[in-house]
């Protein structure tokens, strides 16, 4: 594609972005002139290059923590969502517990994570798990709860006898988009917990660990911001990948409803 065409198509999105970055550069360099308070954008970019050898291992560690937390969250939330969404009494019995636990900020679980699990990767994974679990659970059980009665009864007259078959052939496929939405939201919340999860000394690598324990400790704000940008961009990439590989492929049938 020609440069002019790129600009014409993405101008509205790109122009303000470039302006903000320029403003940052100029303000930091000529107005504030204090790299502790606000390092220049160019300095931050340079830092990313300087830190390239640290970046990859840190990134992998963080993705590892994220993977532990998210896998655990999904593996526990989905079965619970099925029984809560499908069986009314289960919902009524379990919902109060969920509603009491849900508003507790994930970071408040850090002391318990340390006492229960110790200072290791699983403790970090646990904090991310707390963050991701509830969004996945709640969107998913809504999906199972909202299956239209006529679809359930259609399943029954066509031979789905018993809960197992109805869940497998009717409720689960109906709920999949809601499960996917919950998972996406859960991924977002889980990622936001990564820095905090690595802050309390579960190891000596990880984006959050480095950002807080090393760079901030030494007041290297250009490094801090460099890692902040990486954290943000990585979340963006994860979200886009999820959308592309899961939602767009799996839910062609929804197009008439959502788009």
């Amino acid at each position: 594609m020609k440069l002019t065409a790129v600009i014409r198509e993405n101008g509205l999105a790109l122009l303000p972005l470039i302006l903000v970055l320029l403003l940052w550069e100029v303000t930091a360099g000529y107005v504030i002139k204090n790299s502790l308070f606000l390092p220049r954008f160019s300095a931050v970019i340079a830092s990313i290059y300087t830190l390239r050898n640290l970046l990859v291992p840190d990134l992998l560690t963080s993705l590892y923590h994220f993977g532990i937390g998210l896998t655990l969250a999904f593996a526990l939330a989905l079965p619970l969502a099925i029984v809560m969404g499908w069986f009314r009494p289960v919902f009524r019995a379990v919902d109060p517990i969920i509603e009491i636990l849900r508003p507790i900020p994930p970071l408040a679980w850090i002391p318990l994570a340390i006492v229960w699990i110790g200072l290791n990767d699983y403790a970090a994974g646990f904090i991310i798990f707390i963050g991701a679990f509830f969004p996945i659970l709640i969107d998913s059980y809504s999906g199972f709860r909202d299956v239209p009665r006529v679809l359930v009864e259609t399943g029954m007259v066509l031979g789905c006898i018993g809960h197992k078959k109805l869940i497998r052939h009717v409720a689960l496929p109906y709920a999949l988009p809601a499960i996917a939405t919950g998972t996406r939201v859960g991924m977002g919340v889980g990622w936001m917990c990564v820095v905090a999860a690595e802050m309390f000394g579960v190891g000596n690598s990880g984006l959050g660990y480095r950002l807080f324990q090393k760079f901030y400790f030494l007041h290297q704000m250009d490094y801090v911001i460099a890692y902040m940008l990486v954290l943000g961009l990585l979340a963006l990439v994860l979200d886009r990948m999820f959308r592309y590989f899961v939602e767009e492929r799996l839910f062609r049938w929804k197009r008439g409803i959502v788009k």
Binding site: E153, G159, P173, W253, K254
Partner: protein
């Protein structure tokens, strides 16, 4: 095999705020094998309830429903149902919707069977469309094909053409008669259109509202193919409208 359906003293009451409400009262009916039976009645008279009980999705508070000598207990693929509202599985294509019952029942050669029924309802070429890509009439055709595919003894249809335009409706009625002629199914067809009942039925069951009772069962002894506006059709329509009108 002769599939005979008998309803004996069927009553259904629902719990309401102030005690209970009778939805259906003392329904007695014998449906002959391969009969096309229409049920007409005002809104809320219990037509859906009646079909749901025959399908096994609801149960009588008293009385019994007997199919081929055994009481109906729960749903079974030998009673196919086309619902009043759209009931296609939105995540399945036309083909996969029609295959559904066959697959659940572990039948063989399900693709071939499904394609045959898709052809029967005139939707060849739309096998891979999703429900959101179909018109209302097409969706009901798929629902009919899906209900027929498992070869039920009885086909229960709850105002299947209620939400399509008049022209499509006429077309669908003709197609349904054609299918009925070919498959020899027993069909119970609920409608609140008197015209539709007279055009389709061997017999018409007329119901009254609140509680739903059978007012009268009229035989439609008019040769097929029927003309929608012939004298005898009009006379019968008149009679049905009178019956319905005087009991509202």
């Amino acid at each position: 095999m002769d599939h005979q359906l008998i309803l004996r003293n069927v009553t259904r009451t629902y719990d309401a705020e102030n005690g209970s409400r009778e939805a259906l009262e003392d329904i007695n009916l014998e449906v002959k094998p391969s009969e096309f039976l229409c049920i007409v009645g005002p809104s809320g008279c219990g037509k859906t309830t009646l079909l749901r009980m025959i399908a096994g999705l609801d149960y009588p508070t008293s009385g019994e429903i007997i199919l081929d000598g055994t009481p109906v207990e729960g749903p079974s693929p030998d009673r196919g149902m086309v619902f009043q509202e759209f009931s296609l599985f939105p995540w399945r294509t036309v083909l996969k919707n029609v295959e559904f019952g066959l697959k659940i029942q572990g039948k063989r050669d399900i693709k071939r069977t499904a394609e045959r029924y898709i052809e029967l309802v005139g939707l060849t070429g739309f096998e891979h469309s999703f429900p959101f890509q179909l018109s209302g009439g097409m969706k009901q055709r798929v629902a009919i094909a899906r209900a027929l595919a498992t070869e039920p003894a009885i086909l229960l249809m709850d105002e299947p053409f209620g939400s399509v335009d008049a022209q499509t409706r006429n077309l669908l009625q003709e197609e349904l008669l054609e299918i009925w002629k070919r498959t020899k199914k027993t069909i119970l067809f609920v409608t609140h259109s008197v015209d539709e009942a007279v055009y389709l039925a061997d017999r018409v069951v007329v119901m009254s509202s609140r509680p739903g009772r059978i007012l009268e069962v009229l035989a439609v002894d008019i040769e097929r193919p029927r003309k929608r506006t012939s004298g005898e059709v009009n006379a019968l329509r008149e009679q049905l409208l009178m019956l319905l009108g005087s009991h509202q």
